[in-house]
Structures are given as C-alpha cells and as structure tokens.
Amino acid sequence: MADISIRDVRKSYGKDEVIHGVNLDIQTGEFVVILGPSGCGKSTLLRMIAGLEDITSGEITIAEKVVNHLEPRERGCAMVFQNYALYPHMTVADNIGYALKVAGMPTAERIEKVKQVASSVGLTEFLDRRPGVLSGGQRQRVAMARAIIREPEVFLFDEPLSNLDAKLRVQMRHEIRRIHNRVKATSVFVTHDQHEGMTLADRMVIMNKGTIDQVGTPEEVYNAPATTYVAGFIGSPAMNFLPGRVLASHAAVVLEEGSSLPIPSQAAQTMDGKLVQIGARPEALSLCRPGSGTLTATFEFYEELGSEGLHHLKIEDVQFSVLSENKMRLDEGTQIGVTIPQEALHIFDADTGRRIEISDPIHAIETA
C-alpha cells in the first residue's frame, strides 16, 4: 500500500512562492501524470514527494506516513531523472545495482538480481559498459532498470523521455506503461508533453503557475476542461476561443462579430449578460458554404496532416482552426462558413476562466 496524499503543500524560494497550496490524492498502484508547461512547479512538486526539496508548508504522506522530514532513502521512492543521472564512472551493472549495494545485499545475490532486471529491459549485453558509450535509449533503460531493481512502492518520473527523439519516445512510453502494468507501483510522471500525459495516465493533474487547475482522467480533461488554461493546453491542435456575451433574450451566446450560438434557455436565463469565452475544438467543427454555418470566417492557410486537413481561419482578429477530412483548397481571403455543433461548445467565465457547465458533456458527445 503506497497511496500518496498531498495536503495544502506550498513551496517558497525566499519570498517567491512557486507552489501555492496544492492538494492531491494518489491511490495505490495508480499512474498519475502531472502535466504543465516549464516553470509551472510540476518538477518541484515531484521533488518534494521524492524528498529532494524541502516542503515550505503543508504535509505529504506516503502510505499513511508523514514524510515531510524524512530523507529520500526513507521514503521508499525510486526516481528516473530527466538527464538519467547515471553514474559515469560505474558500469551499467554497477549503476543498476548501486541501490542494492548501498543496502548491503550480498554480492552474488546482487549480481543475479542485476542480470534479471537488465534482461527484462534488454540490457544484458551492455552490463559491463560505461554509460558514456550508450545511446540515449539505452541510457534511458539503465535509468529505468536502476529504479525497478529496488522494487519501490512509488515510482517518480521527472520528464524522463524529453531527451529522446520522437520515435524512441513513443517506444519508451509503451515500455513504461508495460512496466507499470507488471510492477503495479504507484507512479507519478511529470511531463510537459500532452501526448505522453494522455496516453500514460490513469489520471492527469494539470498544473498552471503553481496551482492545480484540474485533476481527472484523460477523457475528463479532454472533454470537460475545467479552465480555459486546461482547454488550451490539452488537445492538438489547440482549442479555439471566441469572446462573447450570454443573452437570455436570444437563448444564446452572442459573439462580437454578431453571430449567435444557441445554448439551453435555462442556462441562458441564469447568466444573462455574462461575458464568456466560447471554446470549440478544431476536430469538432466542420466547414460549410459561407452563410450556412454557425459563423463566417476568412480563410488564411491550409496545413496537410495526411489523414486530415487543418484549415486556419480568422474571425475578426481571432485565430481559428478547423480540423476535418475536408481537404478543399481555398484562396487566401475567401469567406467560408463554420458549423459548430451545440454539444461541441465549451463555455468559460471570461473573468475567472472557469468552466460553466451547461449540460453533461459526456452525454452530449454520446448523443452526437
């Protein structure tokens, strides 16, 4: 049992507070991905769990035990570092077996264990080499093996894939998921790559400037982003935003350029006159003849993505994109209609950026 509980944790460097009261519960065996851009405090949070950074205030417990003042070695976590942090003067075998050596395991037993773990990640033939002669992917494996061999209750990953090339990154991602399914250790994985986050996570934690914006399964985060920040961060190409105002008389959100997007009248009543941000994912939209869609836009340029095409448009001065199987080529400046299905609409408070729930989005998608 190694659930992690984070209670109102703050971190300051001098006067600068970088983590502003974070609360998070991670279940035993869960794979949680902490996602956010650089500087959002995600690595700092991970390092506080690991014990490499002091906790300014708040409490972190691992397996019901408060670990605030415990040394890293007393917390039962293993960590994979971004730059792998392999010991350059030791062989691969010594790197993998170092934790066991420190723990005082007899040499014969240790060597046996190292061999076993090395073969499980495909490193058997590299055991007596130094990390300096290995490729990026191999070093990554050594770092993984070094963490696995301790059979930790908690696995911490600090952007472990960001130094790899695209193909290797996908391979290692699958490898990590496979290892997790086998080992079943509680895992916390920090990354700025939303694809890694979406594909690996049981649950995702989206961080923004030292606070948590949303915690949820990848589907929840994608389908019902809690803030404009999450909505813009998750999903590729990024979600479109248009400013507008709710008018109860129209039972709609009226955009600046005049077109209106109908919403349930009950919802419109309760927030009559409110300034909002309308969000719509490019992949939920489609193109149509000018005048026939929800709104009209000016065509800017086209990107071919192979299976689909991405049309970049402009509505007033706002960038807008539509991702669809429609691959028609247009001239720059052409007027084109955009259809926005009601269930594809996300509405956010223009002041706070928080999501305003108008209907059950999951349900809406299913009926669509």
Binding site: R73, P88, H89, Y98, V102
Partner: protein, 293 residues
Amino acid sequence: MRRAYFKNNWIAALVVAPQLLIIFVFFYWPSSQALYWAFTLEQPWGGGNEWVWFENFAYLLSDDRYWQSVRVSTVYALATTALAMGMALILALFADRQLRGYKSFRIGLIWPYAVAAPAIGLAFRFIFNPSAGVASYLNYAFPDFWDPIMNGSHAMTMVIIAGAWKQVSYSFIFFLAGLQSIPRSLTEAAAMDGARPMRRMMDIQLPLLTPTFFFLLVINITDSFTDSFGIVDTMTSGGPARATNLMVYKIYEDGFRGLDYSGAAAQSIILMILVISLTFIQFRYVERRVHYT
C-alpha cells in the same frame, strides 16, 4: 571551442611578441645559461671558466649533502602536497554543501592564495616561535615540547605547515569548481538510491573528482619542489643543521653564499629535469586512466 584566424600574420606576431620576449628573457635565456654553466667550472670572482663536461654532476651525485637535500625536499613535497590537498578537499566538500555563510567562507579561503610566500613565512615564524609566539604557550605547559630552532624535525614540520597553508587555497578553488561541476542530479540519484551524505561522497563525488585530483597532484608536487624558497628563507634559512635545506634553497646557498656557480647551475638543471619528468609521468601514465567518457 571557436578559434580565431588572422589573415594578417604580422598582427598576430605583434600581439604575441611581448609574451615571447618575456618567456625568452626570463626562461629560455637563463635556462640555457644554467645549462652552459652546469658543464663548466666558473671561477668564484669571475675571470673565465673551464669546460669540465659532467664533473659538476658527478661531484653532486657523490655528495652526501646533496642527497640529504633531495631527501628533505621529497619529504617536504609529499607532506605539503598531502596536507594541502587533504585540507583543501575537506574545505571544498564543506563549501560545496552550501551551509549557512558558505559564500564568505569561500572568499576567505581563496584569499591566502594572494599572500606572498615570504609574508606567510614571517607570519608562521611568529606563530611557531618557541619563546615568543603562540607556540610558546605549548612550551610553557610542556617544557621543551617545541623547538624548531634546535630540532630539525620540528623545523621541518613548521615549514611543511606554512607551505601547505600557502597551497591550500589554490587546490581549494579547483576542488570546489570540480565538485560544483558534478551534476547535482547524480548526488540526488545516489540519495534516492539510499546513500547517505558520507557514502555519496565516497562513491560519487570523490571518484568523479579524480581528474581534478591528479591535476592538482602534479601542480602541488611541482610547486613544492620549486616554490618553497620564500618560506624556507624567512623561517629557517635551511637549518637547523640543514634539516630544511630543500633543493631550491641549496641552489641559492651554494650559488650566492658559497659562490659555487657551476655547482648551483648543475643542481638547478637536475631539479628542472626532475620536475619535467614528474609532470610527464603524471600526465602521461596517471591522468590517462581517470577520464570517463
């Protein structure tokens, strides 16, 4: 590293000329003169010399006093190097842990490097003076405990401490830089692997410091063979009974006090060969094994 190339070679020549001139005047010329003198017998008050081939060297190598000087020099070099590097390493390890106030310690520890050897010698002469210095309290408590004026090994100890103190700061700078160039994530990884600070030091920091260590070993040994004159001259003048008559000091004594120019020249050639070969051996055979790729 990017290199700059000059099309106008005369500019390059002009720029390096002062440096080349200085090297020539203060190194190649005196060295070649010493080499010449080492093979001749110079009259004490001038007035011609005589080519004697290896006679000066033969005389030196059969002279017990010369071997005694080599012996004390070796003791001095090894002891100073060990003491200086040991102290520097300990201080650097502490400074690297970034405990409270480490920045002012760091500056304070680098300072001694800027102090001239004779000044250090004088200061330590006061400290270790058996009847007036700090050490006199020791003699008051334990009579005859400390007497560098009469006791050769006391004198040697004193010179070694002063010499080591002079070299600590230089090694400290390099050790600290070496420690700080070890990625923090390595010690963090070791901490995650369960190693305590002492263990991390032994397993991670010190092994990764070996290139710095060997570089400093070369520099320190060379330095203590060649750069001990100021300290010996101010503290003991080579005494008592030649107990601190290091090779550099003997060259000065024989040459300028004893007016044996040829013998002194031969000694400086031997010292030069010794230092060059030490450096060569260390860089060629030792340093090669301590690079990690």
